[in-house]
């Protein structure tokens, strides 16, 4: 059924709907993970699916990430389209070999005989006080591998649409779902119309003075930051897909605004904002009105305390302050932790 009439859904319901729709339309799709069938998923993203599609298509696994991710690789390589849930993205650490060294290489090593239409979806990110082993984005574990695609949901619509596109993609895709967003309730266009193609950025807000490129939970932070900068017109771009990222959309925008700020929930070292900054600086050197500014988290474990975690993540106020300083001074301001570190 195709409908362009939006439906109000929470982000986790949008994920559930995407899984439902793909399970329904393609008998090769299966869903696997810890506590996803009978219990409906730790974040309720798979609730009720086993009742509709049965235990051979919605499969509870033991707590054996390497085992079930590896099995998903083998199933994908022999014709199924498995969607694996990693309850927290950190849990993939014990299974990383299967994704980065096996799944991503089978097409190459078989000269295209073997394809791996595998999706790994994982809750990710900070903001809920889960502490440093359950709060990271970890996209940097996947981005430089080659042979893997990586995308990040930022709202109910792309939580639905990116997941459906990922399931239909012939290559392995990691879909990161910022778990802080699961409870957000928004309009979603379902059906074919609601599918969000991989590799395409989304224009969140049009503006003239500065382009803010962001993704995931930082999209709404950027949206909240924009009105705090009086007199500055912000263009906001949600990358949606980190690999391959939409270079053209970003370069087109910055070539008009002349300024680029990248807001990333991720480390200062090794974050995807480095790639965006380097590419835009190389492409538009000479026509930029200011240096590129990267606003990230510090290179430290995610702290638990509410007050510390709030500081750890870029806030709307911080994004507005840094961006304003960039525009006023024409050079990049130091990150907040540089001042703190001096005092240590």
């Amino acid at each position: 059924m195709t409908t362009t009439q939006p439906t109000k859904l929470r982000v986790r319901q949008a994920v559930l709907q995407a899984l439902h729709d793909e399970l329904e339309s393609d008998p090769d799709v299966i869903v696997m993970g810890e506590d996803i069938a009978t219990a409906g998923g730790a974040f309720k993203c798979t609730e009720g699916l086993v009742d509709t599609f049965g235990p051979r298509r919605v499969i509870d696994t033991p707590i054996s990430e390497m085992g079930f991710l590896g099995a998903a690789v083998g199933a994908a390589a022999t014709g199924l389209k498995p969607v694996v849930e990693m309850m927290f993205v950190e849990f993939i650490g014990v299974a990383l070999d299967q994704l980065t060294t096996e799944a991503s290489r089978l097409r190459y090593l078989s000269r295209g005989q073997v394809t791996v239409p595998l999706v790994v979806r994982a809750s990710a990110g900070a903001g809920l006080g889960f502490g440093c082993q359950h709060s990271q984005m970890l996209d940097y574990w996947f981005r430089g591998v080659g042979g893997l695609k990586v995308c990040v949901a930022s709202n109910a619509q792309n939580a639905y649409g990116l997941l459906r596109a990922a399931i239909r993609d012939p290559d392995p895709v990691v879909v990161l779902e910022p778990r802080i967003l699961y409870g957000e309730r928004q309009d979603v266009v379902l059906g074919e119309e609601g599918i969000v193609p991989l590799g395409e950025a989304r224009l969140v807000a049009a503006g003239d003075d500065v382009t803010i490129v962001t993704a995931g939970a930082m999209v709404s932070v950027a949206e909240q930051a924009a009105p705090l900068m009086s007199g500055t017109s912000c263009e906001i771009i949600d990358l949606q897909t980190l690999v391959p990222w939409d270079k053209r959309a970003v370069v087109d925008s910055v070539s008009r605004t002349g300024r680029l700020v990248v807001v990333e929930e991720g480390p200062f070292t090794g974050g995807w904002s480095n790639d965006v900054a380097a590419h835009v600086s190389a492409e538009l050197f000479g026509s930029l009105r200011t240096p590129v500014l990267r606003i990230t988290c510090p290179d430290v474990p995610v702290p638990h305390s509410t007050e510390l975690e709030r500081r750890f993540l870029p806030s709307p106020e911080y994004v507005a302050e840094q961006t304003t300083q960039l525009i006023e001074n024409g050079r990049t301001p130091s990150p907040w932790w540089a001042r703190e570190e001096k005092a240590l």
Partner: protein
Amino acid sequence: MNETVNRSSAETSLDRRAALQGSRLEWLARMVEIRRVEENVQTLYNDGHIRGSTHLSNGQEAVSVGIAVAARPTDMVTCTYRGHGTALALGVSPEGVLGEICGRSIGCIGGVGGSMHLGDTTVGLFPTFAIVGAGVPVAAGAALTAWVRGTDDASIAIFGDGSTNIGAFHETLNMAGIFKLPVVFVCENNLYGEYTRINLSTPVENIADRAASYGMPGVAVDGQDVDEVIAAVQAALDRARAGDGPTLLEMKTYRYSGHSRADPGTYRPDGELDAWKQRDPIDILRQRLLESGDATDQEIADLDVRVEERVAQAVASVLASPAPDVAEMLRHVTATTG
């Protein structure tokens, strides 16, 4: 190009696999072929045609050929980087194997993989896995596909004794036990995990005993006897196809060489290698064929010559084969770079 070359180049991997169903003499021919190909690996390395590492399986030929005889070409197989024998047994041509090892375009995956990555899905061989234990869950995944679709396909994971100390092995056997997946786990226990003897790395003498934890039968098999290997693999595959679940087979075998090209294997106790060579899998089968009257001395002598020529011809083709085109490096990374 002479007639022999034309005939062999038209022969597909599937033809080579089907040939094993013809006669027991062909099993012997394939085992001899594996031995000769690996002898050439050493020569080609000495002559500067091979880079990187190689891991010979000489001494283990009966396991490779036994699996190939028992399995259907549609049964997916995962195997380790000690995979020359498995690839040849399943049907990959000597040119395909030697060409890949030498990084030439004639190689079974065009020279981008090397010795550790031989594959051909037309005969069920996933590109071989160069990470210890990595292929074990992938084979279970192929079985999962059969389990979901309700077909009678089965899959086979081939791995070494060293793999049985890796988490992937235990996680996979546990999961296969729960779901009764149609998969056969074949451990080639050649007594050494890389440079370390099994008694120093593993607290049980029989790998087969490990099956007990995962609710499946574990069977120790004489891996030097191809008839024993075939019977055991066949029984396990039948059980898998019948929906009765997985089996762990432990093939007691031995590698005559060290772990890799760099390893002379000097850590092995005196006399161990010689003792195993007394039970050489090729000698055992040859003797049995002669005693049973299935083959004459002349037929076996002819077979040796035929294989020798076939492998020599493969070496010549490999040396005449160009390096892969640079564009091959950029292809097959994702669907859009196909």
